[in-house]
């Protein structure tokens, strides 16, 4: 068992409202990712679950039992700190052994567990070193080992892969997902990297300024963003947003363009709207069911694809294209739109105006 439920967490630091009513329900055995930009309150949320900080309001239930007042030790959780927090005076071996020592395991048990963890994370060579003699990536793996060496109720991980180079990060992503699956344990995993979130998560909670914006599977969050901000935050290149209004059977852009009005929206006539278009739902190579005209603004070759920036009025559309695409800035272009996959948001509140069952 290992469910983690946080309800209505509130925490302020002076004038900063770090957590403004955060509610998360982490099912047993799931890989639950908390995704948000820097300063969103991700670390604060984890620390609240771990019982390291006093909350202004809210409760934490572990395995269905109220643990709000419990000490960190009593909660039986393991955490990877964003800053690693490796004990500087202790060797890597002693760092990894620490959770077992605290729980009075025998030294043969400890030796076996440390050996297993260190071979899993490829740090056997480092066991006799001290944290000061490690690179950032090595420290991060030691911190992971210290958390994974025990079988707690749940693992809390605060951006455990951010300091690794890209290759190692991708490797460790796969490795962590594998570890998660083989342990069947609950992971609460914090990151500001949406690729990490989308590729690893069973469920994602998107956090901004201490408020949960949306909770759902990676697909749900990507395909049906609850609001304009989530749409903009998830996905790369970021979604293009065009200001427009609904008029009869048409959408009229602030820049003068018109598109057919989608049937799946609850938008009303005259309402200020934002049309959200993802780069892969746009094309400069004739595809889709409607079109916008603009001029070529720039090309971003990314190897496997090229992102074409097209200026429509004063707004920029990011369009995904084949890597072979060419053009000169200022050139007129017709961008075809897959309107069935587009999104509409209220320009004022930012909330999605797509019908639920679409």
């Amino acid at each position: 068992m290992g469910t983690v439920a946080a309800h209505g967490l509130r925490k302020s630091f002076g004038k900063v409202q770090a957590l403004d009513g955060v509610t998360l329900d982490v099912p047993d055995g799931s890989f639950f990712v908390v995704l948000g930009p820097s300063g969103a309150g991700k670390t604060t949320t984890l620390r609240a679950i771990a019982g390291l900080d006093k909350l202004d309001a809210g409760s934490v239930h572990l395995d269905g039992r109220d643990a709000t007042g419990d000490t960190p030790a009593a909660r039986d959780l393991a955490m990877v700190f964003q800053s690693y927090a490796l004990y500087p005076r202790h060797t890597v071996y002693e760092n990894i052994a620490s959770p077992l020592r605290a729980r009075r395991c025998s030294s043969s048990e400890i030796a076996a567990a440390v050996e297993q963890m260190s071979s899993l994370l490829h740090i056997e060579r480092l066991l006799q070193r001290r944290p000061a003699q490690l690179s950032g990536g090595e420290m991060q793996r030691v911190a992971l080992a210290r958390a994974l060496v025990r079988r707690p109720r749940a693992f809390l991980m605060d951006e455990p892969l951010t300091n690794l180079d890209l290759k190692l990060r991708v490797e460790m992503r796969t490795e962590l997902t594998r570890i998660h699956r083989s342990l069947g344990a609950t992971f609460v995993y914090v990151t500001n990297d949406q690729v990490e979130a989308l590729s690893m998560a069973d469920q994602v909670a998107i956090l901004k300024e201490g408020k949960v914006q949306q909770v759902g599977t990676p697909t749900e969050v990507y395909e049906r963003p609850a609001n304009q901000w989530v749409a903009g935050f998830v996905g790369s290149p970021p979604i293009s947003l065009l200001a427009c209004r609904a008029e009869g059977d048409r959408l009229v852009g602030a820049a003068g363009w018109t598109l057919p009005r989608p049937h799946w929206t609850t938008a009303e006539d005259g309402q200020g709207l934002l049309l959200g278009l993802r780069a892969e739902d746009l094309s400069v190579e004739q595809r889709g069911n409607a079109s916008l005209s603009g001029e070529l603004y720039g090309l971003e070759p990314l190897g496997d694809r090229t992102v074409v920036d097209v200026r429509v009025g004063t707004e920029i559309l990011k369009v995904k294209a084949r890597p072979t695409v060419t053009g000169t800035p200022g050139e007129r272009l017709l961008v075809t739109v897959d309107l069935d996959r587009a999104h509409l948001f209220d320009a004022g509140t930012g909330l999605s105006l797509s019908e639920a069952g679409r």
Partner: protein, 303 residues
Amino acid sequence: MAVSVDEAVSTGPARDHTPPARRLGGRGRSVLEVTLLTVLAVVMLFPVLWMIETSIKENRDVYAIPAKLFDFKVTLAHYKDVFVDPDGGRSALSVSFLNSVVVAGVSTVLATVLGVPAAWAYSRFAVKAKKDQLFFILSTRFMPPVVVVIPIFLMYRQVGLIDNKLGLILIYAAFNVPFTIWMMKGFVDEVPAEYEDAAMLDGYTRLQAFRRFTLPLLMPGIAATAVFALIFSWNEFVFATFLTSSDSVRTAPPAIAGLIGGTTTDWGLVAAASVVFALPVLVFAYLVRKHLIAGVTLGAVRR
């Protein structure tokens, strides 16, 4: 006695002036610089030199006019007089040295044991009006001891702590606790709180986390702070003079001061006693000098 107390302080600055000059290189030093340094060295070091010289001169040479700088007879008789009574027993001075060791040692241990956990608490926990409390604690150090010596004398008389080593220990600890809290709060602030957080998640209690993971990192800071507290207690003169009177309780500073005056002053004895008094602090500071430096640059030690 004024010589002995100043001495412990004066050698420091005099020595500190040499390294920067050396760093500039021989040629870089201006005549003015050399002159100033020489004058400073003479002014600072001469009393110390004179004290040491007097302590090993025969009495005839001590009182000789003109003073003999070099060609005097060396004797260790004054040092013997410091420790051994003319009748053969222990001298009153040696008892006062022992008292000084006990009073300074115990009061320093007391101040450290009370001050370090307090500093940790101030650093780690949200305490109401923390800044005001810390300022209040510091403010007890603003006033010179002389200001409070009379009220303390009266209070001590009521509770029977006059002419009592415990009385001195308590007052020195009381003066050193605020100092310890302030020094140590800085050192604790330097140690990331996340070591304790991580330890608590490992399964330790908060106190265990402090003892096992933070305290070892604080040792250089504690050593530095304790040395300063020890020097304060060792050198303290005002309270010792007012609050003690009998030979069996007196600490060394008033005991040495007591040698001066009367019909004749045995300057050789005064000088020898002063040297003996100054030595322990110098030796101790020298032994823990690594910690003192590490204490000042704790950041470099940490990671």
